[in-house]
């Protein structure tokens, strides 16, 4: 199997989406709240995956579009072919990170998601102070939203101590198994 066919196969396996079924009606793009921020529209992404050339796949994987996608499911809900573009976007994001070709636009978004998962991996749950701390360290963006902190704190919305679940070892093991790359299952 060529590398590009392997991606189509992976998408089918994880999401059930058969790429050739997309007939390019554009409904996904018409309803997408983030389309105006994207370098490629959702239907263009689908088309490039259908084309399946090395160049088109690389463009899709390194697009900003896949990172601007919010996972709001509007495209998935409205697709007349019952394809699931939102789930395809998830596979593309994962693939783009594992190939190291994520768009520079993704830098902060990725930093946020990675900080989020790092906190969950260590404690079992998300808590705001470690999450925001890690995020700010990894982006060196110390000043944005600074004024929200005290406002949240005085409203009792920023617990100082993260909750540690009992099954932390279990969670760490689940993370390591999922990261170990028995991927595509």
């Amino acid at each position: 199997m060529t590398k590009t066919a392997a991606l189509a196969e992976k998408i089918k396996k994880i999401t059930g989406v058969q790429l050739p079924e997309c007939y390019q009606c554009g409904k996904c793009t018409a309803g997408c709240p983030m389309a105006k921020y994207m370098d490629l529209s959702p239907n263009q992404i689908m088309r490039m995956l259908q084309a399946g050339t090395e160049a088109s796949i690389k463009d899709a994987l390194s697009s900003s579009a896949i990172w601007y996608c919010l996972g709001c499911l509007t495209c998935t809900q409205r697709c007349p072919k019952k394809l699931d573009p939102a789930a395809v976007m998830d596979v593309l994001r994962e693939e783009s990170v594992s190939k190291g070709i994520a768009s520079p636009v993704a830098r902060k978004i990725l930093a946020f998601h990675k900080s989020f998962l790092a906190v969950v991996e260590q404690t079992g749950r998300m808590s705001e102070i470690p999450l925001v701390g890690l995020y700010k360290l990894s982006t060196l963006d110390f000043f944005s939203d600074l004024l929200l902190g005290p406002g949240m704190f005085f409203r009792g919305k920023l617990p100082l101590k993260p909750h540690l679940i009992k099954g932390r070892k279990e969670i760490k093991r689940i993370f390591s198994e999922c990261k170990s790359g028995r991927r595509g299952k």
Partner: protein, 290 residues
């Protein structure tokens, strides 16, 4: 007395603490016992499904498995995002025995698929049909509410059942039972910008502004939501939205459970109504006047 399993989710001890307070207070008023799942973990939220498709199922799988082992057949997940991840996992496991077997291997816990996940609208509608029927003693007469479903209380194949994804109505009966009018408006299922709040604030400001602006134009006195993400984008970011040249709106954002709690005569403080960034005084004053 009814007992329901409870999955608060992480936000409900932080940014979404009023959702937890109001759900617990409302359940207390209805004499429904909420039994928190022992040792629950994070559902993985957007971060997991964006970065690792196995983790996105494995984390909710552990929660569902723990619930089943603890004898909790129904679990309430008031956060719309947790609800969507947990129930979405149920749907995917039911569709694919291979995935279920694979998850059992990864998580090393059994799960037979016997847990039903309930969202905030379903929970509130259940209470209204039974425990709270005829018990809303403090109706908020004359107020107009914009029911806001956002993404995760309106969409998701097999996840949202018995409602119209383009024009949902699962909150309408509750809003009416509280003495309020549910306004007709256009943005009830539009996205607020969700999890990009910190990393792409500019885009989130634009999307949330569109929601607030349409709610205002519809004549709504407040917006009703069931999602901590929507709540923080619409409530906490109103000053940012104003700074970007829109509004000011000063429109309070209430959780559905806070609205019900007020109508059930619970004190605003017990419902966390003093924890909002936008003052909720105009709404709570309506109850005080009774």
């Amino acid at each position: 007395m009814r007992t329901t399993g409870y999955y608060p989710g992480c936000s409900l001890s932080g940014g979404g603490i009023e959702l937890d307070m109001s759900i617990r207070a409302l359940a207390g008023a209805a004499k429904v016992e909420l039994r928190e799942i022992d040792d629950w973990n994070c559902c993985g939220a957007t971060a997991a499904h964006n970065l690792n498709h196995e983790l996105a199922v494995a984390l909710p799988y552990r929660v569902l498995s723990l619930s089943e082992a603890q004898g909790l057949k129904d679990i309430l997940a008031p956060c719309a995002a947790c609800f969507s991840r947990l129930k979405g996992t149920n749907v995917r496991l039911a569709r694919s025995p291979d995935l279920a077997a694979h998850m059992k291997e990864i998580v090393r816990l059994p799960y037979g698929g016997g847990v039903r996940v309930i969202n905030i609208s379903e929970f509130v509608n259940m209470l209204l049909a039974e425990e709270l029927a005829g018990k809303l003693t403090a109706p908020l007469k004359g107020l107009k509410a914009a029911p806001y479903y956002g993404c995760l209380l309106s969409r998701g194949e097999g996840i949202i059942e018995g409602d119209d994804s383009e024009n949902p109505s699962s909150m309408n009966a509750a809003i009416k039972a509280c003495g309020c009018e549910a306004v007709e408006w256009n943005f009830l299922t539009e996205c607020c910008g969700g999890g990009l709040s910190m990393s792409k604030t500019g885009a989130v400001v634009e999307l949330s502004n569109a929601v607030l602006s349409d709610a205002k134009a519809s004549g709504a006195d407040f917006i009703v939501t069931g999602c901590p993400m929507c709540h923080s984008n619409l409530d906490m970011r109103q000053p940012d939205i104003h700074k970007a040249g829109h509004g000011p709106y000063n429109i309070p954002i209430l959780y559905l459970s806070q609205l019900l709690g007020l109508a059930a005569g619970l004190p605003p403080k017990a419902l966390g109504l003093d924890k909002h960034f936008v003052d909720t005084g105009a709404i709570t004053a309506q109850v005080d006047r009774l």
